[in-house]
């Protein structure tokens, strides 16, 4: 049965949410996802996030979700937030096909980079990335990724000047 990849719409939100949770389980951080289906549907409609859903016949087998980021050095680029293929459908080239669609979009839009994150123990994925010529930004450039959560935001915002 042939693979079919479609662009995600708000109607796919529930299916995507299931796969987001499956991916978080795989990443050993099952409590990670906290957004609701409605919020995801709304954000898909407003293009805060874009997605691809892969089907084998009528069976959903995988997805990718991405957003449009902007570098003050090189302009707009895609940040690939999630890429996932369900365990029963692996080793069929579906992951690579999803990757290709994202890469095609990047190429068509003349983008100079495509970025994503991966957990350091996911050696299968890391080997695949290195084979395609991707660079680990910390190993090659010394870049670290920092995050400020809700509590930190509240504290910092509390003293902002009134504009």
């Amino acid at each position: 049965m042939a693979l079919r990849i479609v662009y995600a719409t708000a109607e796919h939100a529930s299916l995507l949410m299931d796969m987001i949770k499956e991916l978080a389980e795989f990443e050993k951080i099952p409590h990670g996802p906290t957004i609701t289906i409605d919020r995801l549907a709304d954000d898909l409609s407003k293009e805060h996030v874009f997605g691809l859903v892969a089907y084998e016949g009528e069976t959903p087998v995988g997805m990718s979700l991405y957003y449009l980021a902007y570098s003050t050095w090189e302009g707009q680029f895609i940040h690939m937030e999630d890429l996932y293929v369900r365990p029963d459908f692996r080793k069929k080239g579906y992951g690579k096909a999803l990757w290709s669609e994202i890469a095609k979009l990047s190429k068509e839009k003349g983008m100079t980079r495509l970025e994503w994150s991966v957990l350091n123990w996911n050696t299968n994925a890391i080997d695949f990335y290195k084979q395609m010529g991707a660079k680990d930004l910390h190993a090659t450039g010394g870049w670290l990724n920092f995050r400020l959560g809700r509590d930190g935001i509240v504290r910092l915002a509390a003293n902002a000047q009134n504009t």
Binding site: A2, R4, I5, I20, A24, G32, P33, T34, I35, D43, H48, L65, Y67, A69, Y70, S71, T72, W73, G75, Q76, H79, E81, K96, A97, W99, S100, A103, S106, K107, M111, T112, R113, L114, E115, W116, S117, L119, N120, W121, Y129, A134, K135, D136, L137, H138, G142, W143, L144, N145, F146, L148, G149, R150, G152, I153, V154, R155, A157, A160, Q161
Partner: protein, 165 residues
Amino acid sequence: MSFTIIPATTDHAAVINSMTHELAEFEKLPKGPELSENELREAIAEKNLFGFVALIEEQVVGFVMCYYGFSTWQGKFIFMEDLYVRLAHRKGGIGKALWKEVAKVAFEQNLRRIQWTVLDWNTNAINFYKSIGATDMHDRDGWLDFRLFRPAIAKFVGGNSDNGV
């Protein structure tokens, strides 16, 4: 000297573009910036980038530029792309004030995170980030950031057959 902070507009594109180059010099990556002033202006006009500038007597002395990202775990968030204060105006609280304006935007929109990157040798910045409660995502969870550059994107696409999208 007192300063004010206002939202960045397309009128600030030229000075922000210059300061992007100054920041890249500081980051020891002077060849990094390839974006023109016009492209930056367009990005601000189309709201692909937003931010704030710090002014002392009507001169821009610092800036912060951000965009909105999306986490499938926590929803819309702010990615802080650049924050810079000119050398002569450091230690006056301008950097922290720019940070606070970004935090205020995140707070008002009920966003759950702000993200950014920093070079591992920039210990002053890293110490500041830790002092405001920020987390190094590699230390905490083991996240690594990967990037595929244009030649490798083209090569990757070139080698795969069309699957009908």
